[in-house]
């Protein structure tokens, strides 16, 4: 049973600790309606945040979030939870920084501890060209009031003593881009926080409901789909739902959903793998990324080291781990931190990423009236969830593309107006 508006507090924690009574369910299991004002496909962070801000900021509560599995079962439950705003383009920096602001107040806004830890984010440079890109990034960042600067190897050593900064290694560390507000967050708590808050505001969260087709009329393509047409609803594994607005928030599956509306995307789906070690004493105070070595690492509060890398080079919807990944990862991590060679990997997993050619998202209206996209989140979309939800909700409610996402429109590919973020997003997510 979910009790609407039930608030967590220190007092309730104490009470439940003493009485061992059950906590109320975080969200309810509503009876599906036949029609909604807005249907959001995908119950990851993006879909849930969009629903929450539609209800919270715009009073639009006749909304369903539809997921084929369980909430947070996609990338939102599989990511390595890095948050930062030291991107390369002014559009990207402004957008991701708004998300960091929302993360800052999220625990009290959503009444759930999301364990945000702004511990500092280091992107190491091992080559002159990497150092050049970082100086470029730092200058763009500073211009937009982001705390970001290039530091030398001594400073790197001071911030993160376990790194080998000696000059006789195979890939010596020449410096780093240092971003003090960057850090990590508890990804599951963020997803649950938005789900619970959206449910309390009256949004329907429909799990285990797969979207099989998007119904359209009046379009150029078969069955009235495609440019010039408009959306009328979705066909799901649990029946038809009519809706004038359908939003695609399905990340790795985005092309499959978009093709159902006759709107092709500039996306290929690639798996991204990650791994975690056994826990050990906390020794790593920052998030460390190395572009040249294709690896990044952070340490959780429980003491496990979380590793990640770039996406797998072959596009596929299959999410199995590969030995190539583990081998390469271990070799590269030990270049940076020879001291951890005896640590054991506990788990390895993988999630689907919707990669765009310019490493920027695809957001807003499309050529099919009422069909909107919030996709192209690649390896970097978790940190963007809050701002994406906020701006998509504004766009839906006002019928006007929100300023912060104006340059991420789907038309940029055919107009040749890309927003190149590869230099800031290919390895460090």
């Amino acid at each position: 049973m979910s009790r609407h508006g039930y608030r967590y507090s220190a007092g309730k924690l104490l009470k439940h600790g003493v009485t061992r009574g059950d906590w109320p369910r975080m969200w309810s299991k509503p009876e599906r309606r036949d029609s909604y004002d807005v249907v959001i496909v995908g119950g990851g962070l993006h879909g849930l945040a969009t629903a929450y801000y539609l209800a919270k900021n715009h009073g639009i509560t006749n909304v369903a979030v539809v997921d084929k599995g369980y909430l947070g079962g996609g990338g939102s439950g599989r990511n390595t939870a890095i948050v930062r705003s030291n991107y390369l383009t002014p559009e990207g920096v402004a957008f991701y920084d708004r998300s960091l602001q929302l993360y800052n107040t999220m625990a009290s806004d959503l009444n759930l501890n999301v364990m945000l830890s702004r511990r500092g984010h280091l992107t190491l440079a091992h080559t002159d060209s990497a150092l050049r890109t970082m100086t470029w990034r730092a200058e763009v960042n500073k211009l937009l009031d982001i705390d970001s600067s290039v530091i030398d190897p001594e400073e790197v050593k001071r911030l993160t003593p376990s790194l080998d900064v000696s000059s006789d290694t195979r890939y010596p560390i020449l410096g780093a881009l240092y971003h003090p507000p960057g850090g990590i967050v508890r990804h599951d708590a963020v997803v649950w926080g938005y789900a619970r808050a959206a449910d309390h505001l009256g949004v329907h969260l429909l799990q285990d409901t797969e979207v099989l087709d998007i119904s359209c009329s009046g379009g150029d393509g078969p069955d009235g789909k495609g440019p010039g047409g408009r959306v009328t609803g979705v066909r799901t594994s649990r029946g038809d739902i009519s809706a004038p607005v359908v939003v695609n928030c399905t990340a790795g599956w985005a092309s499959l959903i978009s093709n159902m509306a006759g709107v092709p995307l500039a996306i290929t789906t690639h798996p991204l793998q990650a791994a975690v070690t056994e826990p050990c004493k906390v020794f790593l105070p920052t998030v460390v990324v190395s572009g040249s070595l294709h690896v990044y690492v952070s340490q959780t509060d429980r003491g496990e080291l979380v590793f990640g890398a770039s996406v797998d080079p072959i596009g596929t919807y299959r999410v199995n781990g590969t030995l190539e990944f583990t081998e390469e990862l271990a070799g590269h991590v030990l270049e940076l931190m020879p001291g951890i060679s005896k640590m054991r990997l506990m788990r390895q997993w993988s999630g689907l990423c919707d990669m765009t050619p310019d490493y920027s998202p695809i957001m807003g209206f499309t050529a099919v009236d009422g069909y909107l996209v919030d996709v192209g989140w690649g390896t970097y979309g978790f940190k963007a969830g809050p701002v994406a939800g906020e701006t998509m909700a504004e766009t839906i409610a006002t019928g006007r593309t929100a300023d912060l996402i104006a340059s991420f429109g789907i038309e940029r590919f055919t107009e040749g107006d890309l927003v190149g973020e590869k230099g800031a997003a290919a390895v460090g997510h």
Partner: protein, 82 residues
């Protein structure tokens, strides 16, 4: 691991080759508009199922060839030199 059948080198581990993505029909250079060119460059079907795609045998015979692969299972069939 995916075993990719190179027409010259036989089955090779996919990490020996480069996947250059699904085959997209190239527009006619004489008549194509800019937006048609860009659609060709960027837009992809990206299906979860059988797709015809190009591979480059980068550490072997350096041939480009196409095969069919099921992107839901990574099963591979057919081959053709391009």
């Amino acid at each position: 691991m995916i075993l990719v059948p190179c027409p010259n080198c036989g089955p090779r581990n996919s990490s020996d080759l480069r996947n250059t993505g699904e085959v997209v029909p190239r527009p006619d250079a004489a008549t194509a508009s800019l937006s048609e060119w860009r659609s060709y460059l960027y837009l992809r079907d990206n299906p979860a199922g059988w797709v015809t795609e190009t591979w480059y045998c980068r550490s072997g015979c350096r041939t480009y060839f196409t095969i069919e692969r099921n992107t839901a299972t990574n099963e591979v069939r057919g081959l053709e030199r391009t």
